[in-house]
Each structure stands twice: as C-alpha cells, then as structure tokens.
C-alpha cells in the first residue's frame, strides 16, 4: 500500500483533469449492482464488472470481542473468501487494502466499542478483482446505513508493453500488462484514498493513470447515485 504524493494530486485538481490519452471517454466494462439481496446480514450488495462478480455482506455495529475492542471507535474486520479453497496471503493483502480504504471513509468513532464485519465473497474473477471488492464494499456499507464521511470507488488500470492504458482490464489484459494499478477515489474531492500497484512504470504513467481513474470514478459515482435512487424509489 502506497499513498500517492500530494503535490501530484494538487496538480490535477488545480489545473483541471489531465487530458486522457487516446479516446476522450474512459471505457469501463458493463457494471451492475444489487443492494440488500441477502436476508441475514445488516447490509449486503453484489457488484459486477464485466464477468468479475463479488458479493459483499456487512454485519454491525455488533458486539465485539474484548480482545478486539477499541475504546474510541469501532473495530472493522474484512474477510475475503476466494471462489475455491481457503483464504491465503493474497487474500490477506486484499483484505488489508479494503479495510484501510473503508476505515478512511467510515465514521468509526460514532460507534465506539462495537464491531463491523465485512465479508467479500468472490463469485467470479475476470480481472480488476480488487476494484470490484472495493466497489461492492462501498455499496454494502451504504446499504447497512453506516455513517460515512464520503463514498469511494476503485478503478484498475493496466499499462501494456506499448504504454497504452486500459481501464478495468479483463484477466487476459491483466496478464499481458506491464504494470497494474488500482486506485480508490473518494467522492467529495476525487482524491486517492488507496493505491495498489504491481509492475514497473514511470512517474508520468502513474500520474496519467490517476487522472484516468479520477475520470472513470465520475461514471461509477453517477452509477451509485442512480442505483440508490432506484432502490429508494418505492418509498419516495
């Protein structure tokens, strides 16, 4: 987990969005979401990006074990369940990325001495899994009605050997790529909350990818709004 340097971000926010190379519109795969589809958890959501699909469930604020109790805020626990087999080191890394992003956006101090549990079940992995985890997590937390200071969404970018940036890559595109980065972006200031990178890339490529992700995040946030509006349409 690396926190991107602040001056790079100010550069983009100050001078408007950087021109995205190639096409002017960022292409994301078809994405879909369903909220409160499970009956047992306090909040649940499924998020689909192309063929990648994740199911998220949130329990809490609930009773916390004494050993995990934090006196001034809620304890957030994230569990990633792979499609087959038991969670291993890779899942632990993903758990940590999701947990730290959620902690940044949730107002945990409003529920001290309680526990929040977020369970992410992989239904199918076809690339951009980490960003799908984060998007599903955000929808599930929102469904559970937990207090949040802002929303977040995540975008995965792949840089191939020609230097072309692909947003929301499939598993095949990920395999061919030279570098792979995932950014979590917040909804109020469009700043980077979390970044996870793999492979080699230059500083300007990193900045380009952040700019592309910020542009793509607009679409996702608009989708969040539409999908929540549809959910509440019955009681309007």
């Amino acid at each position: 987990m690396t926190q991107s340097s602040c001056d790079a971000l100010h550069f983009f926010r100050g001078g408007g969005m950087m021109e995205v190379c190639g096409s002017s519109t960022v292409s994301l795969r078809e994405f879909g979401c369903e909220q409160s589809l499970l009956s047992r958890p306090d909040g649940s959501a499924s998020f689909t990006q192309g063929d990648t699909s994740v199911l998220a469930g949130v329990y809490g604020p609930a009773e916390v074990k004494v050993s995990k109790e934090i006196y001034d805020r809620a304890t957030l626990e994230v569990l990633v369940q792979p499609k087959v087999g038991l969670p291993s080191v890779r899942e632990r890394l993903q758990e940590q990325c999701v947990r730290e992003t959620c902690e940044a956006s949730l107002l945990l101090s409003l529920h001290p001495r309680s526990s929040l549990t977020l369970i992410l079940q992989v239904l199918h992995d076809d690339g951009s899994l980490l960003s799908c985890f984060l998007n599903a997590a955000c929808m599930a937390l929102m469904d559970a009605g937990l207090p949040m200071s802002c929303l977040f969404c995540a975008v995965t970018c792949a840089i191939d050997t020609d230097g072309q940036i692909t947003t929301d890559p499939t598993a095949a595109q990920e395999k061919e790529s030279r570098a792979l980065m995932t950014f979590a972006i917040d909804s109020t200031e469009r700043k980077v909350l979390m970044s996870s990178t793999k492979g080699s890339f230059s500083v300007s490529e990193l900045q380009q990818c952040i700019a592309v992700s910020q542009k793509a995040s607009e679409k996702i946030f608009q989708f969040y709004r539409d999908s929540v509006r549809r959910r509440y349409s019955k009681i309007l």
Binding site: R113, S114, M142, G145, P147, L151, R229, Y232, I235, L236
Partner: protein
Amino acid sequence: MFSRLKDKVGQVQLPGDEFSWEAEDTIPLTDPVRPERVVCGPGLRRSGDRLLVCKSGVLRHKQPNVFWIDSQQRRYVPAKGETVIGIVTAKSGDIFKVDVGGSEAASLSYLAFEGATKRNRPNVQVGDLVFAQFIVANKDMEPELTCIDSSGRANGMGVFGAGGLVFTVSLGLVRRLLSPLSEIRSDLDQLFPCELVVGMNGRLWVRSPSIQQTLIVANLLQSCDSMTAPQRRELFRRVQQGAL
C-alpha cells in the same frame, strides 16, 4: 441553506453530499434579521458551517425547521426515548439484561416496573419479552431501559402476556407504521382484528384470534418492506377477498 435544504426534500442523498451556508447577498433593512436555525436529525452531521450527509436515504423535512435522512437499515442503534421490544437474556442481582438488537445488551432495573418495590419483585423470567423505553442511550454508555413513565405508570409498557408472535422487519418499515396517518396501518385495520406492538428496533409483535390469522398478518407485514403502495393495496385486497 434553508431554501437549499428545502429544494432537496424528498430526494435521495448519498454520504458526502453537503449543504454549505452562504451569507445572503442583501440584508433587508425593513424586516428584523432572524438567524436561520436548522435542527439536524439522523443521517445529517454538522461540520463547521457545512451540513454533511452521512447516510444514504431520502431527505425529509418537518415544519418548521427539522431535517433528517430516512434510510432503510436493519441494524438498530439505541436512541433515548424510543420504545423497543426486547428479550430478557439474563437475570443478575437487581438488573435484567435485555437484548434489543443493538451492539450491546441493555440493562433493565427490577424497580423499573409499575408497582414494583424492594419487597414486591416483578415476575420476569429469562426469555420473556418486554416492551420498554430507553432512558439512557448514547454511544459511550450501556443503554438502560425502563418499563414505567415519569409518573410511575406502566403506560402500555411491561412484560408481554402469553400468545402472539414476534418477528423482525426493517427499521424503515417500523417508522412508516408508527407515523401518524400510516397507510399500512389503515390497510391492516380493514383485514381482521389484531393487536400489534411496534418496537422502534424493528421487532413487531402480533396477536390475533387465531394462529392462522397471526401468521397471515406477520407475512403481510414482512412483505410490505419490498412493495410499492399500489402493490401493497392489491395484495391486501386479495387477502381480504380470501384469495390467499
């Protein structure tokens, strides 16, 4: 700010949306200048001179200046003054532990019942249902319940009698049931006679003359969560005609 908030009433808001306070351009010289006061309910948070939304839901307004976010959540967070249906889980000395569905069990003193004295203990067993009110509920302290009002009367609260069925619905549905002139309640009135106790923690207790009718009412209320008003009226009409 006031007019901005009013514009958004009835619209869906997401966490992170904000309303900022803007000084008015002109100050009227003839009218006395009165500061705008806004009372924020659940889901709204004040930060400096901005008002932030922290839950997703529909912005609601009540005259003259109360605003809150109406959200559909399932987990109950205790709030002072709310009446809930709890299950007694333990008896220890002079307090009962009551499960209300929150993050922590609430405590209920044995003296907090109508007519209870040190000699005359109320007959409460583990597993009993109680209808009680929160007198202490904040994030830092253990929640505390009482079954009497400030004048020492039960006022409808206390231990439930035999029979009836408890089930859980979303907190949004509970608030809709409790609102004055609730449509669901008036629809239900026309079906069959039944007793309904609504706890703000999402638990409902129903008792009607027969078990069959109790189950019908319970199933109807649970399905109300995911229905629009016309769908609900259609379903209630069919039940009334005996089609289901």
